[in-house]
């Protein structure tokens, strides 16, 4: 039986480690190009992999999820604003499901 509090503690400790270990370990700048490049790319790759196709499956209708994905890309291309982009995707799902369900 897995315990939710143990899960939360693991999440907490690992998150803290990503914030603390470099803060105290790397006093000097790291020169290794591969290491720096790897850390540079990781966030974009993870966030992208987590977004698609998960966004399609998240709402009740897959077509609403797919269109909200496209709307989110277009909105974030023109408007660099977290709330507006996030809201545009939600609104898209809401409107499409209103008409189709």
């Amino acid at each position: 039986m897995k315990n939710i509090y143990i899960y939360i503690m693991i999440m907490f400790l690992v998150t803290l480690m990503t914030r603390y270990v470099p803060l105290f370990l790397f006093r000097k700048k790291i020169k290794n190009t591969f290491f720096n490049s790897f850390l540079f790319y990781v966030p974009y790759v993870t966030l992208s992999v987590m977004t698609f196709p998960a966004i399609v499956k998240a709402p009740e209708l897959k077509i609403a999820g797919l269109i909200s994905f496209i709307v989110g890309i277009v909105t974030s291309y023109f408007k660099d604003n977290l709330i507006i982009v996030s809201f545009s995707t939600c609104l898209t799902v809401f409107i499409i499901e209103k008409f189709l369900i």
């Binding site: 897995k2 591969f34 992208s48």
Partner: protein, 236 residues
């Protein structure tokens, strides 16, 4: 550092963080809905949020809790989802005044989110811990309470609203990735390849036997490594 200066820095931090706090309310509310699907109580959601303060890390964690993944998998997944904090932490370690105490460094490090990092970084030549504390206070509380609210509301709200909110976090991820891809062709390519590989590994038999967590971990390591070899970034 004199006391009055620190006090005004704390106040300025609080004021500057108001737009961030508002954004956190929406995103954390959506995160709460994810947490509810993983059967977390509103207290557990609050606890996770106040301890982790990380949208992508918590989202990944909740997703795996829902799957009842092994503990080791959730540890690796959290590490990957939060890898950008490693970069921020390295960057910020170069920006402390030599007189800044160990305790203050611990304090600033605890609240290192993308947004608080950004405003603390542009504010002063050296990081003023009091500014970061001021900026964190309201926004982190909003973050944690909104997660709880999302869990509670998820049980009350009509399913059409819950369904609409289920894409909010992905919208936020898009808002981080797409503007960067617009400015940098390599990132654009990386993002496209990531979507494509994610879709393929999710659909094609054999790969889709992997849990979501493992799939994301493996893809992240492979794609980031290949890109780092083909398109290395210069260190500035």
């Amino acid at each position: 550092m004199d006391k009055n200066h620190n006090k005004s820095q704390f106040k300025e931090g609080m004021i500057d963080s108001i737009p961030i706090a508002l954004g956190y309310l929406t995103v954390a509310f959506a995160l709460g809905i994810v947490a509810r699907n993983a059967d977390l109580t509103s207290f557990q959601g609050f606890l996770a949020s106040i301890l982790c303060v990380s949208s992508s890390g918590e989202y990944a964690g909740f997703m795996l809790i829902k799957e009842k993944a092994p503990y080791i998998e959730i540890a690796i997944m959290t590490l990957i989802a939060n890898a950008r904090y490693i970069l921020m932490s390295i960057t910020i370690s170069q920006r402390f005044h030599e007189k800044t105490s160990f305790l203050h460094k611990l304090g600033v490090g605890f609240f290192l989110t993308d947004e608080i990092f950004a405003i603390s970084f542009v504010k002063n030549r050296y990081i003023n811990p009091y500014y970061t504390y001021g900026a964190s206070l309201i926004s982190v509380l909003c973050w944690a309470f909104a997660t709880s609210a999302g869990i509670i509301a998820g049980n009350i709200l009509p399913s059409s609203i819950v369904s609409a909110f289920s894409v909010a976090l992905y919208g936020m991820f898009l808002a981080i990735v797409i503007p960067a891809a617009k400015k940098d062709k390599v990132i654009l390519g990386v993002v496209f390849i990531s979507y494509l590989s994610s879709y393929i590994t999710d659909t094609v038999p054999f790969f889709n036997n992997l849990s979501d967590g493992m799939r994301i971990i493996i893809l992240t390591i492979i794609i980031s490594s290949i890109c780092s070899i083909i398109f290395p970034r210069k260190v500035d």
